[in-house]
Each structure stands twice: as structure tokens, then as C-alpha cells.
């Protein structure tokens, strides 16, 4: 314990050195701004700045990259709330309640909640990281394909209540998301699947961002235009010191869900395959399931913004653990961070902690500082982001379309994806008019590939024996929890009905 404190304080002091601290400031700002653009995320910032980092020592470089990573995690919420477009898969759940809040003129409230929840999530996870890194790394090793599949089942179970009231349409939406996720190369058999018309653009599959930007960017824009007959009312948000203080007071209402979300986020994040997206979805689902007022979720509940944001920040810290100790990237961004470490001659692996303690603790120390810097910068920027919403709609709309198009182009750099995005936008708009819920499709396309792959890997390993999922302790527990979660709303419903009956009888 004492040694951890010494190492940690040395790490924090290192992060506070002028060069390193400058790197944190710059990195957080760049990350925040890049993360706030739909389609762009930390991966763009990190990849492009990687060569620059040849000019500075490795510790400063990794601090810089980690700061960008952190800043972008905060930034993801900004696009989700102000524009209603999830800029990254980790910020999908933030749209569900962030957008209704912004439409109600409470964008500042939502943005503040997102920033504070991110800060809490970041802090809790860094503390957990500091204290429990080595045992958790050992735990992560126990996670094989069956455990990953069980975790996916658990993730699906947590958002069972997120669909609409029309059950066949909700099922259709989930399934089409899962089918779209299978487009591209199947790694198990090595065969390309569902390559329509032999178009080579389908070989890389249907990117989550293409569907999300299409549906939430273009589709929602068309929907807003139609329902308001083009006369969109401008949301006046009054920013004042008093309003700011009130926003901070809201913390009380979501501190519970935030703490829960942070803890889940951290643990899910440390698992090599999972990462921040399932973590944020699970956190949102749980916040809704155990809320006193589940009906208000999706209509602008502040906890619905706080819960996923706390979890995705916690998970992004958590996913540093498998990267450092196992050399396994949990996301494209950590993949590039990993590449950076290798270029600098630092080999991630079980020995990194003991052989390069100055590097590892410098990184951990910088996470503490970066988290603090990011929240301050973020809150300082909120008035500017809120102003975006006061622009006339005929300026805002074309700007959003342009952001959607270049944002859809950036990840794979093919026009194919932009056309696909446009198609999803129009189809999504039409389906939405007929009360087909679109969120389940977006969630399914994120989790679908993980679920299918781990299922088939497990069955290969067990030679087709389905019982492998319940026989192994960790996956058995996850499946059991999933069953509990699925039945929980039913039981609650049943009880409510019985007590209502009892009340009417007496």
C-alpha cells in the first residue's frame, strides 16, 4: 500500500512537470474538440498525432495521447446532446436522454451532468486502477469466449426495456441490426458474407457509425423538419452563474446511478473484448431498470445522461489495463496507443509494470491530472456548445448534413459508406414515421458481432456443446444475472398489479 502511494505520488509529480502538463492541457482540448464532431473520435486525434510524438520523450508522448483519449471521451457526449448524433459507439446511450433534454431547452443541464458524471466515472476508475491493477489483469485472463458470450447476453438483458411498445417492430429492429452486423468477412470461416451486388465496399462490413449517423443525423433531421413543417423553434438557453450552480446541485439526483455505472464500466472495460460501448449500454439499462421512475427514461431523465457517461469514461480507463498488461487493445484507439508504445520500444506485457514503473506510474498519474483538466475545460466550453443550438435552423441543418457526410466518410474513407449512410437516413426516417423504434438496431449492430463471434468460438472449443456456457463458473453467473434482469421487470409488474388488485379489493 505504502509503495503504491510513493509510486503514485511520483507519477503525479511527473505528470505535473511543465512539458507533461502542457501535453495534458493540449491533448485534452484537442480530444474534446475532435470527440465533439460526429464521426470523428479519439482514434483520429491519436492516429494523426502519433508521428508528432517522436519529438518528445515516450512518457510525455503517452501522456499526450492518453489526454487526447480522455478529452475525446468527454467530447463524445457533446455531439450526442447538442446535435443528437452519437459521435462514437460509446456515446449512443447518451443520445437517448440527452437529445430530449436539449430539445426541451436544457442542453446546459445535460452537458453539465455529462461532464460531472464523466469526472466521477474517471476518478472512481483511476482509483480502482491504482489499487487493483494486477489482480484484475489476472481475472481478465480467465475470460475466454464463453465468458465473453455470457457477458453479451447480460448486456442484451440490461436493455430489454429499451424498445418501443410495438413488440414485433422492436424485434424487427433488433434483428435487422444483427443481420447488418454480419455483412463482411466472417473470421471464423474466412468467407465473405452478404456482399450485395459484389460491391467491394461491403467487404469491410457495415460500420456502426454509418448506421448511427444515418439514423440519428440525417433521419432525425428529416423527422424534425417534417414534424415542425420547417419552422423549427430555436431553443433559448439562458446561461447564468445561478443556472450553473443549479446544474451542479443536480448531482444529488444522479450520484447513485453514476457510482454504480462507474464501477460496472471499470470492470467491463478491463475485459479485453468488451470495452466501453457495452459498458455504457449496461449502465444505462441498469439505471433504467432500478429507477423509481423508469417511464421517464428516454424522455429526458438526467440520470439517463449521467449513467452511460460515467460508465464509458470508467471503461476507457479500464481498457488501458488489458492494453498495458496483456498487449491487447480494447478499441481502435488503444490499438494505436499500443502501436505507439511498441514504436518507442516499450513492450506491453506482464513485465511492463515491474520493468518500466516510471512509465506506467507516469501514465497513471497523468490520468488523474487529465481527468481533472478535462472536466474543467469541458465545463468552460459548455456555454459555447449551447450557443450552437441557437443558430437559425436553415444554417444548422446544412452544417449538420455536411458534418454527417464528412464524418461518415472519415472512418473508412470510402464514398460507399456515405451513400449507405444516406440510405439508412431516409429508410430510418420512413420507418420511424410508422413507429418502428430505431435505437434497438443501433445497439444490435454494436453488440452483434461480439455476440456471434464469441458464441461460435465457444462452440468450436466445446465441439458444439451448448452446455459450455452454464458449466463454466463466470459465464454461468453472467447468464444467471441476465435471467434475473430479464425477469425483474416482469416481477415488478406482477407485484404492482397484485398490490393494485389488493388496493381495489380493500
Amino acid at each position: 500500500m505504502e509503495s503504491i502511494l510513493t509510486l503514485l505520488s511520483a507519477g503525479i509529480l511527473e505528470a505535473l512537470e511543465p512539458l507533461n502538463f502542457g501535453m495534458i492541457l493540449l491533448g485534452c482540448t484537442i480530444g474534446l474538440l475532435v470527440g465533439a464532431m460526429p464521426g470523428l473520435g479519439s482514434v483520429n486525434g491519436v492516429a494523426i498525432l502519433l508521428p508528432i510524438t517522436f519529438l518528445v520523450p515516450p512518457t510525455a508522448a503517452i501522456i499526450f495521447l492518453a489526454a487526447i483519449y480522455y478529452g475525446a471521451m468527454y467530447g463524445g457526449a457533446i455531439s450526442s446532446i447538442t446535435l443528437g448524433i452519437p459521435g462514437a459507439s460509446t456515446a449512443v446511450a447518451t443520445v437517448f436522454d440527452g437529445r430530449p433534454l436539449a430539445q426541451a431547452g436544457k442542453a446546459d443541464k445535460a452537458l453539465t451532468a455529462a461532464a460531472i458524471a464523466s469526472f466521477i466515472g474517471g476518478t472512481i476508475s483511476i482509483v480502482l486502477f491504482t489499487l487493483f491493477a494486477p489482480p484484475l489483469a489476472a481475472f481478465a485472463l480467465k475470460f475466454g469466449p464463453p465468458e465473453e458470450f455470457a457477458l453479451m447476453v447480460l448486456a442484451f438483458a440490461t436493455f430489454i426495456g429499451l424498445g418501443g411498445d410495438d413488440i414485433p417492430k422492436t424485434i424487427f429492429s433488433i434483428l435487422i441490426g444483427l443481420v447488418l452486423a454480419t455483412v463482411g468477412l466472417d473470421i471464423i470461416s474466412g468467407q465473405p458474407r452478404l456482399i450485395f451486388g459484389d460491391i467491394s465496399g461491403f467487404l469491410h462490413g457495415v460500420n456502426f457509425l454509418v448506421l448511427a449517423i444515418g439514423i440519428y443525423g440525417i433521419g432525425e433531421m428529416l423527422w424534425t423538419l417534417e414534424t415542425t413543417k420547417g419552422e423549427v423553434t430555436v431553443h433559448k438557453v439562458k446561461m447564468s452563474i445561478k443556472a450553473m450552480i443549479d446544474n451542479f446541485r443536480d448531482v444529488k439526483s444522479y450520484i447513485g446511478t453514476t457510482t454504480l455505472g462507474s464501477t460496472i464500466g471499470y470492470f467491463v472495460g478491463t475485459l479485453p473484448a468488451a470495452g466501453a460501448t457495452p459498458a455504457s449500454l449496461m449502465s444505462y439499462g441498469l439505471a433504467k431498470t432500478f429507477s423509481k421512475d423508469p417511464e421517464s427514461f428516454g424522455k429526458g431523465n438526467i440520470s439517463g445522461v449521467a449513467a452511460p457517461e460515467a460508465a464509458n469514461n470508467a471503461a476507457s480507463t479500464g481498457s488501458m489495463l488489458p492494453m498495458i498488461t496483456l498487449g491487447i487493445p480494447g478499441s481502435p484507439t488503444t490499438a494505436i496507443l499500443l502501436g505507439g508504445m511498441i514504436i518507442w520500444g516499450l513492450r506491453p506485457g506482464p513485465l511492463l509494470f515491474t520493468e518500466h514503473p516510471d512509465f506506467v506510474w507516469g501514465l497513471i498519474g497523468s490520468l488523474y491530472i487529465a481527468n481533472f483538466v478535462a472536466v474543467v475545460i469541458n465545463i468552460a466550453f459548455i456555454p459555447i456548445f449551447v450557443r450552437v443550438l441557437t443558430l437559425p435552423f436553415t444554417i444548422l441543418a446544412p452544417t449538420i448534413y455536411i458534418l454527417c457526410i464528412v464524418g461518415g466518410y472519415a472512418p473508412t474513407q470510402t464514398m460507399h459508406d456515405v451513400w449507405l449512410m444516406f440510405l439508412f437516413g431516409v429508410v430510418g426516417y420512413l420507418l420511424r414515421k410508422l413507429n418502428y423504434p430505431v435505437a434497438p438496431a443501433v445497439l444490435a449492430i454494436v453488440l452483434g458481432p461480439l455476440a456471434e463471434r464469441s458464441l461460435r468460438q465457444s462452440l468450436l472449443a466445446s465441439q458444439g456443446d451448448m452446455f459450455t456456457f452454464v458449466e463454466r463458473p463466470i459465464s454461468g453467473v453472467c447468464i444467471f444475472l441476465a435471467l434475473v434482469l430479464v425477469s425483474y421487470p416482469l416481477i415488478k409488474n406482477f407485484r404492482a398489479r397484485r398490490s393494485a388488485k389488493a388496493a381495489s379489493q380493500s
Partner: protein
């Protein structure tokens, strides 16, 4: 077209799409391979079958009038609303086609000119500022800061002098 008709039509199209996906997935092995688990086509095939089932259910519910959409005889979309939506969708379509033909930067200028001046009826001054300002911002952000080259089609050589300035 009424909402009621649209509901049935959409369910039929969804069902047809599902069948199409099932046929496409059927090109691969959709069965269970002994000792290996499901084949590569099984997951998409059976999920598409589920989509078909869900669409059939929607059709059934339309028939018995279980959903609000299947009872509504309102117009699916009124003429003036259709105009608003198709202008927006059409201008995006134009932007995409123009990107292939003349490159994204020229396309952006034309798109903004149309949208700001003729849809938004903003002043020429504001239109001109944004028409030039936004493409310049996109260029600086993507090509210069993030190093993501955007499609330029035949206008590419026009950018060589800018590259000279940027990288010298």
C-alpha cells in the same frame, strides 16, 4: 396514401427484404456443422427468418387492426411536408452526386449556396461568407489537421499549390 396503407406496404417490403436476405445467406452453410457449431450463413439466415416472422406478425396485426398505425386513415405525409423533406433529402443527394463529379469542395459550395440562399433565404453577404467559410474550415480540419484527404475528383490538381504552401 394513408398511414394505414403505408403500414401494410412497409410490412410487405420488410418481409420481401427478409426473404432476400435469407436467399443471400443461403449461399453459405446455414446448417449446424457437427462438432463446430453453426455454419457461416446460419446466423444471418435465421435472424432474417426472424425478421420475416416479425413482418408477418405486423401484417397480421394490421389485419386485425391492433396498432394505431393500422387504424389511422390520415395521410401518410401531406403535400407541403413532403416538399420540405424532399428538398432536404434531395439536396443531400445532390451533394453526394456532385462530390463524385466535381469533388467535395465544389459540391459543398454549390450545396451551401442552394440551401442558404434559396431554402433559408439568408442575405447574399451571409451566404457568401458561409459558402466559402465552411469548405475552408472543412479543408483545414480534415486535410490539414487530421490528414484525412477528402474526395476531389478532377479538381485535385487545383489543390497542388495549396499543398505546396502547407508542406513547405
Amino acid at each position: 396514401m394513408t398511414v394505414r396503407t403505408a403500414e401494410l406496404l412497409t410490412a410487405i417490403i420488410c418481409a420481401l427484404c427478409s426473404i432476400g436476405l435469407m436467399l443471400k445467406a443461403n449461399e453459405l452453410n446455414i446448417g449446424w456443422i457437427d462438432g463446430r457449431g453453426p455454419g457461416s450463413g446460419a446466423w444471418p439466415f435465421w435472424l432474417s427468418a426472424g425478421m420475416l416472422f416479425a413482418s408477418l406478425l405486423t401484417m397480421f396485426r394490421w389485419f386485425i387492426g391492433a396498432t394505431p398505425e393500422s387504424r389511422s386513415t390520415e395521410l401518410f405525409i401531406t403535400r407541403d411536408r413532403l416538399m420540405i423533406v424532399s428538398i432536404s433529402a434531395g439536396s443531400i443527394l445532390f451533394l453526394l452526386v456532385a462530390t463524385h463529379l466535381v469533388g467535395i469542395y465544389v459540391a459543398l459550395v454549390l450545396f451551401l449556396l442552394f440551401y442558404l440562399r434559396f431554402v433559408g433565404r439568408h442575405t447574399w453577404l451571409l451566404t457568401t461568407i458561409l459558402m466559402i467559410g465552411i469548405p475552408v474550415f472543412v479543408f483545414c480540419l480534415f486535410e490539414w489537421a487530421l490528414k484525412i484527404p477528402l474526395p476531389k475528383s478532377f479538381t485535385e490538381p487545383m489543390f497542388y499549390p495549396i499543398y505546396d504552401l502547407m508542406y513547405s
